[in-house]
Amino acid sequence: MSYIERFLGGIAVSVQLTLLSFAIAIVLGLLLAIMRVSPWPPFRWFASSYVELMRMMPLLALLLLFTFGLPKLGFMYSLFTSTVLVLGLYSAAWICEVVRAGINTVPIGQIEAARSIGMRFDQILGEVVLPQAVQSVIAPLGNLFIIQIKASAIGAAIGVADITYTAQKINFDTALAVPTFLGAMAAYFLLTLPAGLFFRFLEQKMAVLR
């Protein structure tokens, strides 16, 4: 019985990792996407080089850099925090790409109409483009969320007690590799399936008839 409780503990940690890092990623990713379409070149350059940089680095390399590198510079925080930060910073780049793709799906006539009545950049973006982009962004965002659940397993590599780490520890204690592995798989299904359903529901709610 206690093994199931340990798995539940692991699930709780995985959920926290995913939710916290995804919240960071959404805020940062949205900011980056806005920077990328803004009229100010330095912001555009910053956002696009950020996205490129994140795409070029393996997640684990970034995580190890944050966990072992930053303490050398005098920044100390827990393993959990650094995993959340790294996951958030990493997927912010993908969210930026998704939002930008969403912005590109808004019909050009909408933007021309907004410009022709004299709206400014922030008005066009905030009142015309982004509200219409939301609908086409939800499905890929759902995909990213499910990917985030799986990516949170990277925390196990540095010893954050998530599902993967718990499974590893239970295997050390019991040497029952197959049931433990199936249990961990079931735990991930338990998280990804409801997430998938939720985002599909959200997509239907947000559907705009054109």
Partner: protein
């Protein structure tokens, strides 16, 4: 960059001045941040010569270079195996026979839903217990192939579905059998369409070989950790150099993808709008790896000027 597609009017004199001010503030902020980081690094002595000296030694460079080669070796073998598994898997997933379809869907669903890290950890535990004692490279490749064949199969499936029924129907109508239509008509076109997505899949595989770190397989990331445990003062420096090495490989692949996309945009310019592997026809059912998220953006819908 044509001015018509922007999210803002071409700036007049007033707006131009405002934009200039905001840009200057942006540059100052960026430089301020860079300066703060640089100062922090300087203050903790990260630029000191003794921290970099180890990398002037040819042995260290060879050590890291071998790590890079190990990474590439694992990536190449995984790519070949995963891709050659992915095509039959995708075909099975689209098969007319229910049991074939279900089996393939089960395989793909299982190995896509499980984090690669978990898969690799238990590959290392499970394979020896059934009597398969392989090298670390073997375990890493086994786990990667399981995961990435499922991932790539979904890309291939999406590519086949995005081609549209007409091609297959035309092939059938001139008397081809199902498999002939698939092999000679549908697959060649579909593979061409999904080429950029496949390059991104390769990029994901290259980056995922860094998970060999936990087996441990002596790849690039592992080697950088070994250097920093041998010379603790050079931790950040070895991380920096390894990042540059990964970045170099990734940049090559990204450049390849961009080149392919440009070629394809050029090819399809004269034709009417071409079906692409897009977010739209992938639908919500298909999960997209981060590395290919941007590929799936329909190139035909990309608007110049809004796409800096």
């Amino acid at each position: 960059m044509s001015a018509d597609n922007l999210l803002y009017e071409p700036p007049g004199p007033l707006a131009r001045r405002r934009n200039r001010i905001i840009s200057v503030v942006g540059v100052v902020l960026l430089f301020g941040f860079a300066y703060a980081v640089g100062h922090r690094l300087e203050a903790s002595g990260q630029f000191d010569a003794h921290r970099w000296k180890i990398f002037l030694h040819p042995g260290t460079l060879k050590f890291l270079f071998d790590g890079l080669m190990a990474t590439l070796l694992a990536a190449v073998i995984s790519t070949v195996l995963a891709f050659s598994l992915a095509v039959p898997l995708a075909l099975a997933r689209l098969s007319n026979r229910l049991w074939v379809r279900t089996l393939a869907a089960g395989y793909i669903g299982c190995f896509r839903a499980v984090p690669l890290l978990l898969l690799i950890l238990f590959t290392v535990i499970l394979l020896p217990s059934i009597g398969l004692h392989w090298s670390a490279l073997g375990y890493l490749i086994f786990g990667m192939v399981l995961h990435h064949s499922a991932m790539t199969a979904e890309i291939v499936r999406a590519g086949i579905l995005s081609l549209g029924r007409g091609q297959k129907e035309a092939a059938l109508s001139i008397g081809m059998r199902d498999h002939q239509a698939m092999v000679w008509v549908v697959l060649p076109q579909a593979l061409k369409l999904m080429l950029p997505a496949l390059v991104s899949a390769v990029l994901a595989i290259v980056q995922d070989t860094s998970l060999g770190y936990i087996i441990p397989y002596e790849e690039l990331l592992r080697r950088s950790q070994q250097i920093s445990s041998f010379a603790p003062q050079s931790l950040l420096q070895s991380a920096f150099i390894v990042t540059v090495m990964y970045g170099f490989v990734s940049a090559l692949l990204l450049a390849l993808r961009r080149w392919i996309e440009r070629r394809q945009a050029y090819d399809s310019r004269s034709r009417k709008k071409q079906a692409q592997v897009t977010e739209v026809n992938l639908g919500g059912a298909v999960e997209v790896t981060p590395a290919m998220q941007s590929v799936l953006r329909p190139t035909s819908e990309r608007v110049p000027g809004r796409d800096q």
